[in-house]
Amino acid sequence: MTRTATASARRTTELNLEDGARRGKWKGEVFRALLILCLVIAFVTLLAVIVQAAVKGWSRLDWNLITQMPSTLDRETSGMKSAIFGTIYLMGGLVLTVVPIGVSAAIFMEEFADQSKWWVRFIDLNIQNLAAVPSIVFGILGLALIVRGPLSLGTVAYAGSLTLAMLVLPTIILASREAIRSVPVTLRNGSLGLGATKWQTIWHHVLPSAVPGMVTGTILALSRAIGETAPLLLVGATVFVTYTPDGFFDGAYTALPVQIYQWASRPQEEFRILASAGVIVLLAVLLAMNSVAIWIRNKFTRDL
């Protein structure tokens, strides 16, 4: 046996375990500082976006902003009531459409699909791919096939909802699949071992356990949808509406980000202030949605 490490004896004499004995310790500290800086860049920007909009829009952060319709004549009291309602309709239609489809698709892919089949892998690939298609392409799709073409819904709120639904569908499917996958296999086996059918197992055990994950994923997807502007511009969210939508399938509508964009590209200072105030409203809605998502996530991860 070659005596490689005659370790003990030699090393004892120079044994030094003290902090600082190690050379190059500062490198680690610098590295950690750099990493923190990376996060700080992101957070400072978020803060700057909020502060800048808040400072600029401060004078118009009043009740009129929420309770009044937009106005070209009375800019000082102009509000975004129609946009707020438009967004509520958009989101309502979106949730009612995309959640059932998305969750069902996720259940199919996780529980029933046989990954060895080429068409299952094709669907899988397709979903992943759809997740990164630029939103404006969905605008083109929505205009050609939903507003016009086969569905011919016209420029109504539900056409916007459906366009956004296709946009966030992959995100919801992926999040729901993640949630379903995280349900322990022991729970499934327990139920199946008793002679429950697959669907009974899913309905009684998998879905209830996966709901928190699905809800969080859905809320995060919706908070992305709520700020989407480009596809809505294409599928006909109108910019000046002084009434709230009649329904999902009737009448013109506008939406918060569209209204903001429109105001931001007007020359008059009052409109620009309105745009900034609108950004704050939108961010507030966004933060509220994210908080709910986080709350749900924390509540349920603690319980499990």
Partner: protein
Amino acid sequence: METRALNVFYGGFHAVHDVDLVFGRNEITALIGPSGCGKSTVLRCLNRMNDLVPSARVEGTVLYHDIDVYGPKVDPIEVRRHIGMVFQKANPFPKSIYDNVAYGPRVIGMKVESMDDHVEQCLRSAALWDEVKDKLKESGYSLSGGQQQRLCIARAIATQPDVILMDEPCSALDPIATGAVEDLMITLREDYTIIIVTHNMQQAARVSDRTAFFTARPDETTGNRTGLLVEFDKTSNIFGTPSDKRTEDYISGRFG
């Protein structure tokens, strides 16, 4: 029930080779052997839980009351209603103790006169009634490990199977809880056919009537280890006078 020339493959991997076993009615049969020799695989074939592993493929015959469990018209769900299962890690549902037991009868649409009575009976059979009778509405998770495992047994017998499969039911339990579950098995033997997988030779010796010893033989070319049945006999014979050298080596702790 019995298996004939049972072979199991996971994809291209030959996991279990030619297993012939006959399980006695109202007896406890123990499957022992080193890790990876296919004990769990064989067990899961008996009630077609292996159907749930997409890559798994089963050849040979598994007879239950002379019906081939893998026969063309057989419904795996029906099979599992006759052959219950208890798992290594206690896996109560995140529901109340009561609902855990009542779940099985409900999903299979079993007719019972009074569900309350039925639940009580099952919990009594699982020697758990006295410990939980005042907290039936509490979550199954609130029980200790050993109690959870007995709850799972209560749940398994609630659908009135006649065979119960148990895959290392005590390996996560402390000695006292293990003792309780072992006592329970011996009582249940009167009414059920029980097949258990265990790592613990002492346990096999303590509770089982018959023991099957498996081992795994590496393939010379691929190095894959295929499980096979070495010896199947009365427990007293296996532990007292094993007829195979490999059994003897294993029993005496020379390897594993």
